[in-house]
Symmetry: C2
Subunit: 254 residues, 2 copies
């Protein structure tokens, strides 16, 4: 160990382990690792990967998420992979005739966050590509995660299922305002809006826009209402002043 | 048109259009179609797909979601693809220095659901695989969608971005209880729990389990508390009666 960790990508905070049970294609293990790391998850466990381990195809597919692949722990059985975990969720597409709590991914990862915050060791289980988890692995888990999908077409693959669960984990970690505003916008003040309105109205007055006279009041009202609805920034106001000036300039040579 | 629509997969309800701008690989168009159809979305629009249209690779990749590919509409420009839409969201990974509302996928698709319910024509724009949307396409949209990801590794591909947006749409359509119970569980009634407790205690009494005498009361209290915490079903209770009986039977031949 060197004295200093220069990795910006280090994630010391506790997090769930993602356990791939009997994954078949190395490419899918790599894609799962990428999906995890997109949301800051790097604790990958593999139970009896079909093509052995390490797997060069997993490495190639993972590219930027190599640290997840390099840190993967391999186990011979599901029981061994879960030995140190205190609460586990089995992802399943089909309903199983087992008495178990079934979470949506959103509810499951919120539950996982609460457990992790209390110091629990949490894991999510994902089955092999074709068959999904065997019933004995589902039985071993404390709860089930099922993604609500189109009943006419429920064909999420392994990496997609990992992605949706990792994304829901990330919802609580890489917090973003649900609705924000990009750019360096400064909302226009009332005085700026009034000045713009007066500028526009005076130029329109000049060209006889408010006509006939009996429509004048309602035309002005509509125009002012339109301006208020625009939610303008101070930069917008400057732009619009320029446009009004440019449009109302007499054509060159007149 | 035949007289009857036999397709169970028909989705008559209004929904947003997913607009892929300048997609490059047919495989990615197919994967996007699959991701959409997993969540009941089938309105795919393509702006100037690099390899022309139709694209056999898109068809091969889409497999079960062929109807999305078959129904795809192709446009020469982003403007044409958006002509009939009243509100559009541009998906971007990078922040842009534009004054625009930035939604998370969850908030954006909730907003989209509300707009669609009011009869608006809504669309989501997705850029080409490498570069993402050009600024001019982002400017054209009413708002931005950005997935909150690990800042050290933000590498969602086209189909993954489509999947997350489609998933968030599906959250409002394929409603599932966030937390439910699978199987045909019937919770055990109080009388069943009491009978089980009495059965277990009497067998433990027989074998002198509650010993020494001064610990007896607290041992019984702990045991009863444990039984109450188990949240047993009526089937569990039958199983446990069987176990207690089996364990307390004298060994054969004694």
């Amino acid at each position: 160990m060197s004295g200093t960790d220069h990795s910006l990508a280090h994630t010391p905070q506790p997090q769930p382990a993602f356990v791939l049970v009997g994954p078949q294609m190395g490419e899918n293990i790599g894609a799962a690792a990428r999906a995890m790391w997109n949301f800051g998850l790097d604790r990958l466990r593999l139970v009896a990967p079909r093509d052995g381990w390490p797997n060069p195809r997993a490495v190639a597919m993972a590219s930027g998420a190599a640290k997840v692949i390099d840190g993967a722990r391999v186990f011979a059985s599901t029981d061994e992979a879960l030995n140190d975990l205190t609460y586990t969720y089995a992802t399943t597409a089909r309903p199983r005739d087992l008495t178990k709590t079934v979470f949506t991914p959103e509810a499951a990862l919120a539950d996982a966050r609460a457990r992790v915050a209390k110091g629990e060791q949490v894991g999510l289980l994902f089955g092999p590509e074709r068959a999904g988890l065997a019933n004995e692995d589902v039985v071993r888990a404390n709860a089930i995660i099922t993604v609500p999908v189109n009943p006419a077409f429920a064909s999420l693959n392994l990496a997609q299922c990992v992605l949706l669960c990792a994304y829901e984990w990330g919802q609580g970690v890489f917090e973003a305002d649900p609705i924000a505003t990009s750019g360096k916008a400064v909302p226009a003040s009332g005085v700026e809006i009034t000045a713009l309105r007066d500028h526009l109205e005076s130029r329109l007055e000049d060209v006889g826009f408010f006509w006939p006279e009996d429509k004048r009041a309602s035309m002005i009202e509509n125009l002012r209402n339109l301006i208020s609805r625009l939610d303008l920034t101070d930069a917008d106001v400057r732009t619009l002043h320029g446009i009004v000036r440019a449009l109302s300039k007499p054509p060159a040579g007149r």
